[in-house]
Amino acid sequence: MRSNSQLQAGFTLLPKNNFFVNLKNAWTDASINIPRGMLNSFFIAACSAILTTYFSALTAYGIHVYTFRLKKFAFYFIMAVMMIPPQVSAVGFIQLVYKFHLTNSYIPLILPSIAAPVVFFYMKQYLESVLPMEMVEAARMDGSGEFRTFNRIVLPIMKPAIAVQMIFSFVSSWNNYFIPALLLDKAEKKTVPIMIAQLRSADYSKFDMGKVYMFILLAILPVMVVYIILSKSIIKGVTAGSVKG
């Protein structure tokens, strides 16, 4: 292994044996349990991605297909709150979490993703462009229940939109720092961004820098791998929820 000064003296282009030494050191670090953090982050991000896409599609379908008195109000309400940043309700949110003794629980980090206005808006636009009403009517004629129609016929049609939004939601949850940092203080519950921020607050000069770079790499690598595989559909989703040209 190279010493700190050697490491800081210059870069080599190819990972050598040091790479695996650093990987092992980072992976087995006693104070920052990065494998645990990655597992925690993965669990929260995966659950959020599933909930957010399913329920946004459900809400979009509800508003798109049915006629009911509060339909217009519901739609314009969601549009109105779409851009309000989540930080502005953080005070009340934290009080609520304390009140229900849910600190160090993942429930307050996962459940709110059911209501995601931007994802809803994307799903609504998508439904308008792909779902012919005749299809819903035909399903009804065949005696399919409303939920069954949604789950068996509409969801498969929405697959591309769901895939795109799943990735976006996974990434934003994986990278999320503000709220989790305020709610998770038990070491075994912490997520990756909290651990990275912990590196910063520790006295870094005592740190093996190879290990620090490895932590950073581990924090961003999973998302990058997914991105490289699915970049085409991700890029398509970037213009989501924006004005049409």
């Binding site: 003296a9 006629t67 309000i84 819903v136 870094y204």
Partner: protein, 312 residues
């Protein structure tokens, strides 16, 4: 919006299903966002914090929190205005070059005259930094630019500086680093949005301008820019709303302190400080309400644009 399914058979009320399908969204929104939002506003009128082990309040104090938010502190500066100013300065330093670069790249890559290949690859590359964890990106910059970090080593080795530069101790360099990170993370996103906007413009417009003998510069200023204006405004306003939320990058880079001399302390970092160990919900509430008012004002623009598009 024209074709709506009306109940056809007697006795089947489909309206009920509309409510059932949107119920989970609204229940979740009311519990996790609307109620906390109201609690936040309510809190801003109370004195409620922890001093050591003692809990002070909650006592109703009216507008006292807002008054202290906007009164000068010991050093004579008004914290709230200072942090608001910091947030705007940091945002502008990243956003101005970002919009210029994005506009140039978007025009270049969508130019039908140049007909550039490899758009997909280009988009893939420039969008990548947007997905990097902001906390990790900031930690990376911290280690790279630390007094013993590789950047200083390179500068020293080439004799560009005599002794290592403390990039993280200078107001200018800290602000530049933060803006640079924001720029790198967001210019790809902006470029892709603007490219979509340009591609949405009727191609005949460009051809007509060319036949009339307009040069590229004239086409850009007389055709592209005016037709792109709505999307450009949308992009700038949404970027501004995002900029107000700036937190992860300066928080990790300066370890939550906004060093040096609180020059890189943003509004949300300020809010975060009140939410930390002091649990000063009163002051945190007041900061949130100010942040809410500003972002709600900006959101109104976006709302109007999107609803207009919907009514068409």
């Amino acid at each position: 919006m024209d074709k709506r399914l009306q109940p056809k058979r007697k006795g089947v009320n489909y309206a009920k299903w509309g409510y059932i399908f949107i119920l989970p969204f609204f229940v979740t929104y009311i519990i996790f966002t609307l109620t906390p939002q109201i609690m936040t506003i309510y809190n801003s009128f109370f004195e409620n914090y922890r001093s050591g082990l003692k809990q002070i309040g909650p006592n109703f104090v009216g507008l006292k929190n807002y008054v202290s938010l906007f009164s000068p502190d010991k050093t004579g500066s008004i914290g709230m205005l200072k942090y608001f100013g910091n947030t705007i300065v940091l945002w502008l330093m990243g956003a101005v070059p970002q919009i210029i670069v994005a506009l140039l790249l978007a025009v270049f890559f969508t130019s039908y005259r140049l007909n550039i290949k490899g758009q997909q690859f280009f988009k893939t590359v420039i969008y990548m930094p947007n997905l990097i964890m902001a906390a990790a990106f900031s930690m990376l910059f911290f280690t790279l630019f630390s007094p013993v970090g590789p950047i200083n080593q390179v500068l020293l080795a080439h004799g560009i500086v005599d002794k290592s530069v403390n990039f993280l101790g200078l107001k200018v360099s800290v602000r530049i680093l933060i803006s640079l990170m924001n720029f790198l993370m967001w210019f790809g996103n902006t470029t892709i949005l603007l490219m979509a906007g340009i591609q949405g413009i009727d191609q005949n417009m460009f051809e007509a301008a060319e036949i009339d003998g307009a040069n590229s510069l004239q086409v850009f200023f007389r055709v592209t820019l005016p037709l792109l204006a709505p999307i450009l405004v949308y992009t700038i306003i949404t970027a501004m709303i995002g900029g107000l939320q700036m937190f992860d990058v300066p928080q990790v880079l300066t370890n939550g302190k906004g060093t040096p001399d609180r020059a890189s302390m943003t509004m949300v970092m300020y809010l975060n400080n009140y939410l930390g160990t002091s649990k000063n919900y009163g002051m945190a509430g007041a900061v949130s309400v100010v942040l809410f008012i500003v972002s709600a004002g900006l959101s109104l623009f976006v709302y109007n644009m999107l609803s207009k598009q919907y009514r068409q």
